[in-house]
């Protein structure tokens, strides 16, 4: 059986410049910092990053922005990162803003084989510009397409050798459904447990969607 545990170096070799990356986390909580630092040791860039936010200039996804490795950010807000705003205004970074609940569901839809979502959020605002709308039972919904990516970079708490994952409290956020929506899902883990070391009910993301594991600082 394919071994899922790889080294940080093996990880960065797999990520090509220009790749589309789903990155877990909410203002840095639940973001795989070691994976980001490893990418920054290379000269790779031109990434499209899909994430809840760009955190802070010196933290998590913010570091990829500050070091100009990102050409496009698809996020729900950038209010905590003045560097993202600066690059956006200069025109060196494309920022696409998506309502947080819509972003979450679009990524889940991508991973779950659905074509998109039908949401009331954004109707009557600039978010609806250019998007199809549907009436269902007398109510109007925006049709928002599914999102998939080349890679999902996640931060998990525990993993067994198969790749079953658990998460630490609010570090769960986008990590769960992002796991389903990438061609290659890679998780930085705090603790490696033996096979059988997780209760089947405790597993949050089943191993079928996890391709690679990287032991983090604490494991």
């Amino acid at each position: 059986m394919k071994k899922k545990l790889i080294t940080l170096h093996e990880f960065s070799e797999r990520i090509p410049s220009g790749a589309t990356l789903l990155i877990g986390g909410f203002l840095g909580d639940g973001t795989p910092d070691l994976l980001i630092d490893e990418i920054l040791k290379t000269d790779k860039g031109g990434f499209t990053v899909i994430a809840n936010d760009t955190a802070f200039p010196d933290q998590g996804i913010g570091k990829l922005i500050s070091q100009k490795r990102v050409k496009k950010a698809i996020v729900s807000h950038i209010g905590t990162n003045p560097e993202t705003q600066k690059q956006m205004i200069e025109g060196s970074l494309i920022v696409e803003l998506i309502p947080q609940g819509t972003l979450a569901e679009r990524i889940r839809a991508g991973g779950f084989g659905l074509g998109g979502i039908l949401t009331p959020t954004g109707i009557g605002t600039i978010v609806e510009n250019g998007k199809p709308k549907l009436h269902i039972d007398g109510k109007e919904y925006l049709v928002e397409s599914a999102i998939k990516a080349d890679f999902a970079l996640l931060k998990a708490k525990k993993a067994d050798f198969y790749g079953n994952l658990t998460f630490a409290y609010t570090a769960r956020n986008f990590n769960t459904f992002m796991a389903f929506a990438a061609n290659c899902t890679i998780a930085e883990i705090d603790e490696l447990v033996p096979i059988g070391g997780l209760n089947p009910e405790e597993v949050v993301v089943p191993h079928a969607v996890v391709d690679c594991l990287i032991r983090g600082n604490r494991s």
Binding site: F26, L27, G28, D29, G30, N52, D53, V75, S76, H77, I78, G79, T80, Q85, M88, V95, L97, P99, Q100, G101, T102, A104, E105, R108, T119, P120, T121, G122, I123, G124, T125, I126, V127, A168, Y169, T170, A171, R172, N173, F174, N175, T176, F177
Partner: protein
């Protein structure tokens, strides 16, 4: 004129009277966050945070901050007994699905129909909508908690929002340090005003038409 240092407390305490015991509530960053400390005796509410928790407790004492128990503003918080965590899809399922009794948010502008704009100033400030559009579209009640005028002294309650809207769903209640407006199909209705002010002063500080409730009273402080 109500002093700026008093305004935030006035607003938070008035908003805090809007809840029933057991309500599930999302409080936005800024003044809305203060509401949690102003609840009347006997009223317990469950705080929802859009990054994935219900039953959020206060900021823990120094040295007790868990790195992965945070609120939507990235502050360390705690769980109260009976708390629950979930991912962002479930968190917004609660929001969009109408499972929040109320959301309390700040505003840049609210217009005479009750429409809210609170997420960007084109060409100037573009933080993004974060969870605001889902919250305003989905919560059972939307309460705006804001100072009556902006830093330049200009009214924030306007005839028509010039800034991009957060939702076409109208807010239910607007609470400022001067006044409380209910939003009805006909527009804004002044239901309470500060005894430190007057209806005339409020008209001067408001750039929108509003009706006056026949049972108009002063805000209990």
């Amino acid at each position: 004129m109500i002093a700026e240092d008093k305004a935030k407390g006035y607003i938070a305490r008035r908003v805090a009277k809007e809840f029933k015991d057991g309500d599930v509530v999302n409080l936005g960053i800024g003044i809305p966050t203060l509401v949690a400390n102003c609840l009347p005796p006997g009223i317990q509410i469950f705080l929802h945070s859009e990054n994935g928790l219900l039953g959020m407790g206060p900021i823990p004492p120094e040295g007790y901050e868990h790195p992965n128990i945070r609120n939507a503003g990235s502050s360390s918080v705690s769980f109260l007994p009976g708390g629950a965590i979930f991912d962002s899809a479930v968190s917004f399922g609660l929001i969009r699905g109408g499972h929040l009794d109320a959301t309390v948010l700040g505003a840049l502008e609210v217009d005479e129909k009750g429409h809210l704009a609170n997420w960007m100033v084109p060409g100037k400030m573009i933080p993004g909508m974060g969870g605001a559009m889902d919250l305003v579209t989905g919560a059972k009640r939307v309460i705006v908690a804001m100072t009556h005028v902006n830093k330049n002294g200009s009214p924030k309650i306007v005839k028509t929002c010039l800034l991009p809207l957060t939702s076409i769903r109208k807010v239910d209640l607007i609470v400022t340090e001067y006044a409380v407006f209910r939003v009805e199909d006909t527009g804004l209705v002044l239901i309470e005003y500060s005894e430190e002010s007057s209806v005339e002063e409020i008209k001067g500080l408001t750039a929108a038409h509003f009706d006056i409730d026949p049972r108009l009273k002063t805000i209990e402080r």
